[in-house]
Amino acid sequence: MARVTALNVNGKKMTLDVDSTVSLLSVLRNDLGLTGSKYGCGEGQCGACTVLLDGQPTRSCITQVGRATGKQITTIEGLEKDGQLHPLQEAFIKADAMQCAYCTSGMIMSGAALLTKNPRPSRDEIISGMNGNICRCGTYQRIVEAIQIASGTAKEVAK
């Protein structure tokens, strides 16, 4: 069976040796020690495992690691740059957009991808863009607010 021996993760080349059919989530968590991406359902329904592949939000639990070779993989651990949080990470704290926070990594990765594609999304665009991510604690309203803060649209919304 084909093996995967190198991956580009958060701007770094990481060497490993795994079967190419193993899920990307499992490799990130168990082989590379990047546990910020979470297992929530294993069927791509909850979004807790969301990472970016060349900037595209991807459900790592249903993505074979072989599909990630040669691509830039960005995980939650890669958003903070030189001790500076990503604006969306800051916004999540500001909006108190979490409770247990198990969904938070996936929410932030999905939200960051949304903002890259659409820097000033409307409320409806945020809702439809984020609908694949589940927060069982029910902080959706605050997550929308966090994305609005990060996009600079919160003030307009409040008017």
């Binding site: 999540f92 247990c100 902080t139």
Partner: protein, 735 residues
């Protein structure tokens, strides 16, 4: 998975007396504490007043008395670096008590929140705690820690005064420094704690800051370690990694209550690196990676014998049959003594209504499924797991492996939520069994399907209500029977002189247990829907009808606050929209909910084959839980409870047949998502003169009846089963 454990889950949390006495006694002496925590000053918080007085005398500086109270609620350690660490057996799972308890301690110590660190839910270093449930942390643990911190402050001031050679009365704490009256001398916390080996028992008769004078509590302090969560740095139980750790997988029975007939593990054992563990009904596999463990588990051939078991279709008939077994807590036909005479009440009524309401089994589905890492070292078992009952799980582990409880350590990293669903330790036991067989640490993470199937469910229930009302709106009779779902929130705040309210335990076809708010959701749904029916039978406004039958000031307060913010009575719903209202009381919290719903007609192709859908447009909820500790986090909790309630109200329902769950996945079991989210407005009634009650549960109870009544308002259809519209609005609903 013994019956005993199931029973613990069925004890109603409002039976506070059952939780008073720890089942485990500590026998610490002062030396143990110093050994465990190092130098500095340790403040011990006894559980009860009597103990505090008794021990307080023994502690009064005469020395020689190393014996400490057995029943300890918490302890606080001021270390030589000036750090303040609070040890409590409570656990954090998203309800933000790590923040609110730190606020309480900081308030009384007169120091910033930032220097307070909480060690939680570690059975080796935190005092016994029954568990984190029943909305008890705020009303019980916070006051205890407040007293401890207040007493600690006084004792620290005495020590600082001695060190500074000034009068204690002249010393105050400013920015975590002890300062004398003219600010000529000062000491840091570290300087006061340095070189000390003191263990002080906190007296109980310490005054704490009244809520009206709070400056740290009562404010919206951000989640204390939020940065760890937004960076993915926090390690949940499922993220723990140990040296040489293996991965486990359990082979599940074909159905519930199945017994093992035969098992063939040859194919699994032939897989390199896989080790099979077979012990009674337990079959599991361990391997160096989770793929190999899963692959091996999948090739184990097992023959299970399954008894015939009830299915959804017959559920409510089954629940109506009285139980054949005695059950703890809720058992014995709970409820209260009948008051007045139902016959007289019904005779005095101008209108009588008799209706039945039902609720389905639903699943907690915490986003972090059950997970555990177990490690045996020198006969001592250490388990990291996400549970609401670290000490309960420790007992389960000790029992399962026939070892003493002090040979088991359970540690609970801040957990990916619970909602009442993580009271039991099955995953911890399974991981420990696999670790024992291999001699290496083992991680076991339940799949979503396992979490849906092998955890326990919120009880289903049937509720019969018979009532009578006079044409002026006075309710004269109230007969209420709850089958299976439970006692919580069953009592009425309405002034109905003739009432008979009963709970009847049943033999549940599925394993059931605690769920956020317990039966209060079912009881409020039935009661408040019925109240709405009574109001409509008299053509009375549902708010006016409630107020006519309520004297309780706090209940009236939340109703009026919610109605005002919602604009109840001032606006009429648009076409295709409806308004509904409800109120409730549980665990010392008062809640009123107003909801606006819209009936969305299907559009696009195949529109004629689809049912109209209910969309919740707007929710206003007023909540009174006494003095508010952290408005930000309280609002977040209430918004979360409302959102979670949407699932149970509209569409969540466990489908089962003959011992199998038919929808054990997010793709077949719908939970609320972004698109289901209404606009939510929370109104907090901050009653500074009333002790703070917990708030994790009660805000969930009001949504379902408010939405049900709003659907009636919009369509004229009265829905009496939760979930209300799992398939959208269908015309066969009874009215």
């Amino acid at each position: 998975m013994t019956d005993e454990r199931d029973r613990i889950d069925e004890i109603e949390t409002e039976r506070y007396e059952l939780f008073e006495t720890p089942s485990y006694k500590f026998h610490f002496d002062r030396r143990d504490f110093i050994k465990a925590f190092g130098a500095g000053i340790i403040f011990i918080v006894p559980l009860s007043r009597a103990l505090a007085q008794q021990r307080g005398q023994g502690e009064s500086g005469r020395g020689g008395n190393d014996r400490l109270p057995n029943d300890i609620g918490a302890w606080i350690h001021v270390d030589e670096d000036g750090g303040v660490t609070v040890f409590t057996g409570k656990v954090e799972m998203g309800q933000n008590i790590r923040t609110s308890l730190a606020q309480a301690v900081a308030e009384e110590l007169h120091v910033p929140v930032g220097i307070i660190h909480l060690v939680m839910g570690d059975t080796d270093v935190t005092p016994f705690d029954m568990g984190t449930f029943g909305s008890l942390s705020t009303p019980t643990m916070a006051p205890r820690l407040r007293k401890a911190a207040a007493a600690a402050r006084e004792m620290l001031i005495d020590l600082a005064a001695q060190q500074l050679s000034v009068e204690p009365a002249s010393v105050t704490i400013v920015d975590a420094r002890f300062v004398n009256h003219d600010k000529s001398k000062s000491l840091s916390l570290a300087e006061v704690a340095k070189g000390r080996k003191l263990v002080k028992v906190i007296p109980d008769n310490i005054a704490t800051t009244p809520p009206k004078d709070w400056t740290i509590a009562g404010t919206s302090i951000a989640k204390v370690d939020a940065r760890n969560f937004v960076t993915g740095r926090h390690e949940y139980a499922s993220d723990i990694k140990r040296e040489g750790m293996l991965y486990g997988k359990v082979v599940r029975p074909a159905t519930f209550n199945a017994t093992l007939v035969s098992v063939d593990t040859k194919a699994a054992e032939a897989i390199p690196g896989a080790k099979v563990v077979h012990d009674g009904n337990f079959i599991g596999v361990v391997a160096a990676d989770s793929q190999t463990a899963t692959k091996a588990a999948n090739v184990i051939a097992v023959d299970w014998k399954s008894p015939g078991q009830p299915s959804n279709a017959e559920l409510f008939d089954v629940l109506r049959k009285p139980t054949t077994e005695r059950r703890g807590g809720e058992g014995g036909g709970g409820g209260s003594r009948p008051q007045g005479s139902l016959a007289d009440g019904l005779a005095a009524a101008d209108k009588k209504i008799e209706q039945t309401y039902t609720v389905a089994y639903i699943a907690h589905t915490p986003l972090e499924p059950r997970a555990a890492v177990a490690e045996w070292k020198d006969d001592k078992l250490t388990v990291w797991t996400g549970t609401q009952r670290p000490f309960g799980v420790r007992s389960e582990l000790a029992g399962a492996f026939h070892i003493a409880e002090d040979k088991v350590r359970v540690m609970v990293p801040d957990t990916g939520s619970g909602y009442g669903g993580k009271h039991t330790g099955e995953c911890a036991i399974e991981a420990a069994r696999l670790a024992k067989a291999t001699g290496k640490p083992v991680k076991l993470v339940w799949t979503r399907e396992e979490e849906f199937t092998w955890a326990y469910f919120r009880p289903a229930g049937v509720i019969d209500i018979k009532s009578g009302v006079k044409s002026d709106g006075t309710i004269t009779a109230w007969e209420f029977h709850n089958y299976n779902s439970g006692n919580s929130g069953i009592q009425i705040k309405y002034d109905i002189p003739n009432n008979d309210i009963q709970f009847h335990p049943s033999n549940s076809p599925l394993r059931q247990g605690s769920y956020r708010g317990l039966a209060a959701t079912a009881n409020h749904f039935a009661r408040e829907t019925h109240i709405d029916e009574l109001a409509h039978s008299l053509n009375m406004d549902p708010l006016a009808f409630r107020l006519k039958n309520l004297k309780d000031e706090r209940m009236r307060g939340v109703l009026e606050a919610a109605a005002k913010a919602f604009g109840w009575g001032r606006t009429k719903p648009a076409a295709g929209h409806g308004f509904g209202i409800s109120c409730g009381f549980e665990k010392n919290g008062y809640v009123a909910t107003c909801a606006e719903i819209a009936i969305d007609k299907p559009s696009g192709k195949d529109a004629d084959k689809q049912n109209p859908q209910v969309r919740i447009v707007r929710v206003v909820e007023a909540f009174d839980c006494g003095a508010v500790v952290n408005p930000l986090h309280l609002k977040n909790q209430i918004e979360g409870a409302i959102t979670m309630a949407i699932g149970g109200a509209l569409f969540e329902s466990i489908q089962f047949e003959n011992g199998k769950i038919l929808n054990p996945k997010f793709s077949s079991y719908r939970v609320p998502r972004f698109i289901d989210m209404p606009s939510i407005e929370v109104v907090l009634l901050d009653c500074k003169d009333i002790p703070s009650a917990g708030a994790g549960e009660t805000p969930i109870v009001g949504l379902a009846p408010a939405v049900g009544s709003a659907i009636f308002n919009a369509t004229g259809m009265r829905l009496r089963s939760l979930p209300l519209v799992p398939k959208g609005v269908t015309t066969n609903a009874k009215s």
